[in-house]
Symmetry: C2
Subunit: 218 residues, 2 copies
DNA sequence: TACTGTGAAAATCTTCACAGCT
DNA sequence: AGCTGTGAAGATTTTCACAGTA
């Protein structure tokens, strides 16, 4: 309980990395090695792992499988979760396929407001009209949702999902969802904003801003 | 120079929000109003804006247009940037369309390793084989790239982009890119990890972890 | 010897409180 | 009166340094 959010994010990244090591047959790895692979310092890796209690073996680094299981156990990552995708436009449809084979999640449903879209889409995932969101989420015990609808439809989609008992949402629209029930975790992944952020960081780091205003940074 | 990264991210979000206000005909807004819309405190909004120097007018909140222009000027967000997309699978192809109409960026090229894919894809964006990445990026002055290729092909794609002079990369694969030249900004947007993070936060916040190990959090 | 685990220091980021402007 | 701008306090996160262990 109460692991800092950045640590949680890095532990998830670490979890994925350990799965790769397992596939590649690497069975033991040091914090330094992990740090290189994750792009963070070895200190940071050890500190993060330390939130889970002791795992390493004194001198010989971490056992890949044990560490992976420890993270999965602590963060409830062991069993597949059911997810759904709301909005089956270009992005939503791509997500539908993208995640099917991943192994971490089962895509249990797709939703779209357009009946026409539901009839023409080619997919093995069962799809439903948007007005069924609440019922389907409830009846199939879907835990997580990806929302890939136009900005102005996002809040309503979220409300329906939450009414059905959804526990977490990843939102691809450039609008902030106001959860109608507390405890729902929302993460925003706005592609346009990501591009802006990269541009802005370049401008800031290089001091290449245009001189529209007169004020300087303090 | 030297604006904190979280502030840069929020300023970009703010920039998008102001564009929406402009479309909706809202011309003036207070820090409180902005905070509600962005899901952060009014203090935070003022502090962020303050990095740009003075903008507000003492008593009456911020002028939407002026504030937007100030952000654009300081963060070099005013003119469209050229971007490209590497990897035209489900996700890459969706991104190709997703961004075409956004207005912030011009999608100047797409790349894929499969010639067959290049011949069959339907798009108005010019597409090229992967081995042309370096030349096309250089000749067309493309500044930013989205990488949506399989994990094992990611580093090579990045190397080619960087050789062509790319300045920023958004990476959709679950692998950390090691830039072959300093100064390139890389942001990772791994969809699987995002889902894991949401799961993990739920587990952590609710103390619902399974008792695989014996240790507790400290 | 090579590595982890962890308290403490440092850096970063957020929140507060209130002076100052319109 | 209502709102911004900002130094200072507070909280959080990262980095460090080194004791402890196999």
């Amino acid at each position: 309980m109460n692991i800092p959010a950045p640590t949680i994010a890095r532990l998830c990244q670490l979890f994925q990395l350990l799965k790769r090591f397992e596939r590649e047959g690497i069975s033991r790895i040091s914090s330094t090695g992990l740090g290189v692979e994750m792009g963070v310092g070895a200190h940071n890796v050890r500190k993060d792992i330390n939130y889970l209690g002791e795992v390493g073996e004194g001198s010989a680094g971490y056992d890949v499988i044990k560490l992976k299981q420890r993270i999965a156990g602590s963060l409830d990552l062991a069993q597949r979760k059911k997810i759904c995708i709301v909005g089956l436009g270009n992005l939503g449809a791509a997500l539908l396929e993208h995640h099917t084979g991943a192994g971490i999640y089962e895509v249990a449903a797709g939703f779209d407001a357009s009946i026409n879209r539901l009839e023409t889409i080619q997919t093995a995932v069962p799809v439903f009209p948007a007005y069924d969101i609440t019922d389907v989420v409830k009846n199939r015990n879907i835990e997580l949702a990806l929302i890939a609808v136009p900005a102005q439809a996002t809040q309503e989609a979220a409300d329906r999902l939450i009414a059905g008992g959804i526990r977490g949402i990843i939102n691809f629209a450039q609008i902030v969802i106001k959860p109608s029930r507390p405890g729902v975790i929302v993460r925003n992944v706005d592609l346009d904003s990501e591009l802006l952020v990269v541009s802005a960081m370049l401008a800031d780091r290089e001091g290449r801003r245009s001189e529209v205003g007169s004020q300087q940074y303090k």
